[in-house]
Each structure stands twice: as structure tokens, then as C-alpha cells.
């Protein structure tokens, strides 16, 4: 009962939240002086940049928890989080390239932020490859947990890349404050929260599906004796 309730709340919150943020992005936030309407893609670009960090941090933590406790629950969450995180990360790369073309004049620049984001994507794509190339559940959980820990190095590097190196990519959150107008910033924040809800919702659903798959497999094994 409670399970279903939390799920429904998350689902409704992300659905309503994303529509509200889209509305705010187009009707509440003012038009950017320099970039004009092109800047609107930023409102989705920023959340889909932050949420993968959260997702991969979840992978990191659950991987450690799995190795410590050997509870299959953790490895399921880790795997589901990689899947959902990677989809959102793909959205990051896509919106990023679309944003680049009108603002920088090219689809892609090999500068630290973009490069580290792409490497992060490749690392977690490798995680999925690893997941699929081991059949035994226990062994698979162990190996992917180790790789989940190793791959996490890319997250702080990607996050810090625009702080460590001079890049073309703009820096929004600085020690001095936030480099955005208040309505723009509020819209971004609402979008970020809604996107996080969507991530949590999808993560839950994915873990449910994995559990059901396992149940079916168990039943099949039982029937086949």
C-alpha cells in the first residue's frame, strides 16, 4: 500500500513538475538579452547535467554498500541508477550539442567540460556492457560494484573540470553566488527538482521491473523443476 503511494506521489510530482517548469521556462522566465530564445534550452540542459551526477553518486554509494553487505537489493539499485542516469546523461549530451551550435557556432568543442562529460557517458556505457557480459547474478553484482566505484572518479573530475581549467563552458555556481537573474534561477531550480523526482520515479520503477523479472525467473525455474 505505502509502496504504491510513494510511487504515485513521485510520478505525479515529476509529471506536474516538468510541465510547470516547461511553462515557466517559456512564459515566466524573461528572454535572454544576448542569446534570445536559444537560451531556453538551458532550463533543461542544467537539470539533465546535474541529475546524472546524483545518479552516479547513488551508483557509487550502493556499490560500496553491496560489497559491504552482499545484499542484492543494493546491486539492483546500482544497476537501475546507471540505466536511468545514462539516459538522462544522453539527454545532456544531446541538449548540449544543440545549445552549442547557435552559441559557439559548432556542434562540438573538445574542451574540458564536454570531454569529461563524454568520458563519463562512455564509462557508464561500459558499466552496462560489463553487466550484460556476466550471467551469474552474484558475480555480476560483485564485478559491476567494483567498476561502479572505479568509474565514479569521472564524476568529480567532470564536475570540477570548469573550475580547474579555463574553458569555454560557462560557470554558474561560483563562490560569489549564482550568475543568473532570479526568475531564470527559480525556473532552473524548479526544473532541477522536477527532474530529480523523475529520476527517483524511474529508478523505483526500474527496480520494480528487475524484481518482477527475478520473480518470473524463479517461478519458471520452479515449474521446469
Amino acid at each position: 500500500m505505502r509502496e504504491g503511494f510513494v510511487k504515485r506521489i513521485l510520478g505525479i510530482a515529476s509529471f506536474v513538475g516538468i510541465f510547470a517548469s516547461l511553462y515557466m521556462a517559456f512564459f515566466y522566465a524573461p528572454l535572454d538579452k544576448n542569446l534570445g530564445v536559444v537560451q531556453k534550452i538551458f532550463y533543461i540542459h542544467f537539470p539533465v547535467a546535474i541529475v546524472p551526477y546524483i545518479a552516479f553518486f547513488v551508483v557509487f554509494v550502493t556499490s560500496i554498500l553491496y560489497l559491504k553487505t552482499r545484499d542484492g537489493k543494493w546491486s539492483k539499485i546500482a544497476y537501475a541508477s546507471v540505466e536511468v542516469g545514462l539516459v538522462i546523461d544522453t539527454a545532456l549530451l544531446v541538449t548540449g550539442t544543440i545549445f552549442d551550435k547557435p552559441t559557439w557556432g559548432v556542434w562540438w568543442v573538445w574542451e574540458p567540460r564536454l570531454t569529461t562529460s563524454l568520458i563519463m557517458w562512455l564509462l557508464y556505457a561500459g558499466y552496462l556492457m560489463l553487466h550484460f557480459s556476466v550471467d551469474e547474478i552474484e558475480k555480476r553484482s560483485r564485478l559491476t560494484a567494483v567498476y561502479g566505484i572505479v568509474a565514479f572518479i569521472s564524476v568529480p573530475i567532470s564536475f570540477m573540470s570548469i573550475r580547474w581549467w579555463r574553458t569555454a563552458h560557462p560557470l554558474l555556481i561560483t563562490p560569489k553566488g549564482i550568475a543568473l537573474d532570479t526568475p531564470m534561477w527559480v525556473t532552473t531550480l524548479v526544473f532541477l527538482v522536477s527532474m530529480t523526482f523523475l529520476y527517483a520515479y524511474l529508478l523505483r520503477q526500474r527496480v520494480n521491473v528487475i524484481n518482477l523479472q527475478e520473480e518470473i525467473q524463479d517461478l519458471k525455474d520452479e515449474v521446469e523443476g
Binding site: L67, I119, L122, L123, G126, M129, L130, S133, V134, D135, K139, R142, L143, A145, V146, Y147, I149, V150, A151, I153, S154, I157
Partner: protein, 231 residues
């Protein structure tokens, strides 16, 4: 102290086994040389080559490292030797360190042979005054490559795809080492062109990157290896 003795014994075993056949060393050296030749055709010689030469060097070394890393656990796994090692009354991380060290030794040997050939082919300027930096770069990079590579080699040998898996897992993780190694090698090879002050500050940044990366991954390998090999 016993721990060190275990590690050294295992390293000795690996080195003796390799020197009997020289299978891995020979193929790694030849591979590096072939890569240089192929790159030469791909980029043409002359000024274009000079600009990309340090990148070429490290791409060749990286691929050679993958070639070697793929072999690390193959014999152990196929002949059931790994099971024997696991039964030994010693810490599992000793296996990790011994494998990482023998990897480090082989990689360094390959580079010692391949690097002079590289300079003959692609480097016109003299960089002997900065030779020490180059040696530090090579050693630090090899520590990182061996630390990450040994761990991921153990991971990939346990999968269905086996040696297909290693490059996919290893290359994205090793990118920071590759960047730092390429940039610092470039500094050495073009050293005479820029002033000493800038050379030193830049060099320290890259060497520090390599060192931090090494420390992180030696620790990660040490802490997680036992989970990879357990049955």
C-alpha cells in the same frame, strides 16, 4: 614483512615465466613499433608529425599496455593457477600488488626499448637536459596504468567477453593519465622553445595530476581487488 615476501615471490614467478617464453614482451615491443609505422603513414611525416608525436607515443604505449594487461590473468585462469594462489595463506591484495608490479616491470621494459626508437623516428630536437622529467613521467604513468589495468584485467577475465571487455572498461578510466602523460611529454620534447619558469610550473601541474591519480587507484585496487577474484 611476510606480506612483502609474498609479493616479491609472486613477482619473481611472473618474471621468470615471462622470460622463459618472452611471448608478451616480444609482442608488446613489436606492437609499439608497428603502431609508430602505421601512424607515420596516417599522419605523414614532417611538421604534422612533430605536433602529434607525443600523443602518438602514448597511444602506442596505451595499446601495448592493453595487450599485456589482457594476458595477466589468462594463464592464471586457464591453468587453474589463480585458484591455487587464492588458497595460499596470504592476503588477497598480495596477488593484486604482485600482478601490478610485474605489469609495471614489463611495461617499463617495453618503453625502454621503444622510446629510443621513437626519438630516432620522430624527434629532431635534443631533450637530453630534461631526460629526468621524462623518466619520472614514464614511471608515474606506468604506476597508474598498472594499478588500474591490473584491477580491470581481473574484472574482464571474469566476464564472458574476456579480453574484449578490457579496452572498453580501461580506456575511459585511464584518460586522465593519458592526458597528463601526453601534455608533459610534449613539454619535454618542445622544452627549448619556451621559458624555464613556465616549463616548471606546467610540469609540476601534470606530474601532480599523475601522482594523485596513482595514489587514488593504487588504493582503490588494493581495497576492491579481493571482491573481484573471490569465487
Amino acid at each position: 614483512m611476510n606480506y612483502m615476501r609474498h609479493i616479491m615471490a609472486l613477482v619473481q614467478k611472473d618474471i621468470v615465466a615471462e622470460l622463459r617464453t618472452k611471448e608478451m614482451l616480444n609482442s608488446m615491443v613489436l606492437f609499439v613499433l608497428l603502431t609508430m609505422v602505421v601512424f607515420n603513414f596516417a599522419f605523414g611525416s614532417g611538421s604534422a608529425m612533430e605536433a602529434v608525436s607525443s600523443g602518438l607515443l602514448w597511444v602506442a604505449f596505451m595499446f601495448a599496455a592493453i595487450l599485456g594487461l589482457n594476458r595477466v590473468f589468462v594463464h592464471e585462469k586457464d591453468e587453474g593457477c589463480l585458484d591455487g594462489l587464492m588458497l595460499c595463506p596470504m592476503d588477497r591484495s598480495a596477488i593484486y600488488f604482485s600482478k601490478a608490479i610485474s605489469n609495471f616491470v614489463f611495461l617499463t621494459l617495453v618503453e625502454l626499448i621503444a622510446f629510443p626508437v621513437f626519438t630516432i623516428f620522430f624527434v629532431q630536437k635534443s631533450f637530453l637536459s630534461h631526460l629526468w622529467f621524462l623518466i619520472i613521467i614514464l614511471l608515474l604513468s606506468n604506476v597508474g596504468i598498472s594499478a588500474v589495468g591490473t584491477l580491470l584485467s581481473a574484472v574482464s577475465i571474469n566476464t564472458k567477453a574476456r579480453d574484449l571487455m578490457l579496452p572498453i572498461l580501461f580506456l575511459p578510466v585511464i584518460v586522465p593519465i593519458l592526458v597528463a602523460a601526453v601534455k608533459s611529454t610534449e613539454l619535454v620534447l618542445t622544452a627549448s622553445a619556451i621559458d624555464v619558469q613556465k616549463f616548471e610550473t606546467d610540469m609540476i601541474v601534470w606530474l601532480r595530476t599523475l601522482a594523485i591519480y596513482d595514489i587514488i587507484f593504487v588504493l582503490v585496487g588494493f581495497l576492491t581487488f579481493e571482491y573481484v577474484v573471490e569465487e
